[in-house]
Amino acid sequence: MDMSLLYTIPHAVPPREAFGLAIAIYFYLTGLSAGSFIISTLAYGFGMEKYKPLGKVGVVLATLLLIAAPMFLLLHSGRPLRAWHLFVYLNGTSPISWGSFLLTLYPINCIIYGFFMFRGNAKLTKIFGLIGIPLAIMVHGYTGFILSFAKAHALWRTSMMPILFLTSAMVSGVAMMILVTIIKDRFFGKERKVNTEVVFGLGKMLLWLLVFDLFLSFSDLSVHYFGEAESMEAARLLLTGTFAPTFIGVETLMGKVVPLVLVANTRTRNVMVYGFAAVLVMVGIFAMRCNVVLGGEFIPLL
C-alpha cells in the first residue's frame, strides 16, 4: 500500500457526506408534490369553487413530481437494485421504512383521485381527495422525521423539522401553483387572459404561509443560537459562516422577505409581480432544502 496515502489523512474525521444534494432535491420535489396536491383538493375536496381550474393540473403535477422524486433516492442509494428490501425487512423506528409505504400509497391515491376527477365523478373525487390529504402531509412530514431522527447533527435533531418542512412544502407548492396558473392561462387558455382571482387568492395564501414560515425559521434558529455548543455552531454556520450567503441572502431575504413585501403591497398588485414573487419563493425554498441538508452535515462531528 502507498504509505503516503495512508499518512496524509486529515487529523480529524475524514469528510463523510451522508445525504447531499440528491436528498435535498428529493425533499424539494416531495414538498412541491404535497403542496400542489393540497391546492388541488381545495376545489374538489373542500368545495372552494374558485380554485376549480387548479384541480386537474394540481393532481397531475402532484403525481408526476412524486414519481420523479424517488428516482433521486435510487440515484443516491448505493444498491438501488436492493430497493425491494425496504418492503420485506421493516424497521418501525426508521422513518425511511415508513416512507417506503407512503411513497407507494400516495402516488397510487393521486392516480385514483385524478382518474375520478377526469371522469367527472364528484363524489369519489372528494373521497379520494380527502384520503389524500393526510397522505400528502405524511409523505412530506416523514422527510422531516428523517432528519430529526438522524441525531448526530445539531441542526437536524429538533422537533421543528417536520413542521418546518411541511410549511415550506406548502409555501413552495402555492408558489408553483401561482406560476402554473399564469403560464396555463397566458399560453394555453382560450382567451389568453390570466385568472386574476385565482392568482390573488393564492397570493394571499402565500402571504400568510410566508409569515408563518419566517416565524418557524426564526424560532428554530434563535433556539439553536442560544442552545448547546453544537447547536450554536450550527446557527453560526448559517448566520455568519459558509452557508450565510445562501441562508440569509437566497433563502431568507430573496426567497421570503422580498416576495412577502411584493405580495403584501396592494399598490403593486399585478399578475407579473405575483409571478416574479412566486419564482423567488421557489428558488428560496430550494435553497432552504440545500441549507438544511448540506448545512446540517457540514460541521465535522469529531
Binding site: P14, G78, L86, N91, I96, A150
Partner: protein, 197 residues
Amino acid sequence: MAKTRYGFLIDLRRCIGCRTCQVACKAENDVPLGVYRTWVKEVEKGVYPKVRRHFVPILCNQCEKPACTRVCPVRATYSLPNGIVYIDPHRCIGCRYCMAACPYSVRFIHPERKVAQKCDWCWPRVRDGFGPPACVASCPTRAMVFGDLTDPESEISRILARVPTAVLKPETGNGPMVFYIGLDDEAARLVEAGGEE
C-alpha cells in the same frame, strides 16, 4: 454459558500516535483506499515552545443504544448479543441513513461494494478465536485493551474498576463502549468552528 458483553479501553497516556492500529485494521479488514474503520485524531495543545500533541484513536463505540441500528430501514445493522453492532453487507441498501445518525462518523460507504461499513472490533476474527482485534494485537505500547465486561476478572474489567475513564459524547445517550483513560476535553470535541484546521 454466561452472557458476554465486549468492551474496549484505550489508555491515551500510552498512545504515541504511531497509527499502527490504523494500518493493522486496513490489512485485517481489507479496507479500501480513502476510507478508514479506525483513525487517530490529533490535537495540538499549547503555544510554541510549550506544545504537546494529543492522540485519540477513534473507532466504532459499539453503543449500548445505537442511533444507527434504530434508523436502518432494512435492519441490515443490528446489535449482536455480545454488544457488537454488526452490518449484514448482503442486506444493506446503501441509503446512508446510519451514517447520518452516527455521532462518531465511523460509518462510510465501501467504494466498491456500495454498502455501509464500519469497525466491528474485528468480530469475525474474535469469534473464530484468532485473538483480540487487529488494532489491539498490533499496538506497540499496549495502549488498547479489549475484553469481556461481564467477567470481573478480565483485564478490562479490572482496569475499569479502579481507573477513572471517559467516553466520547456521552450526552448522545447512545451508551458508547470505548472507554478512554486520560481523554482531553478539547480532543473529545470537534476541532474548531466549521471544522477548519
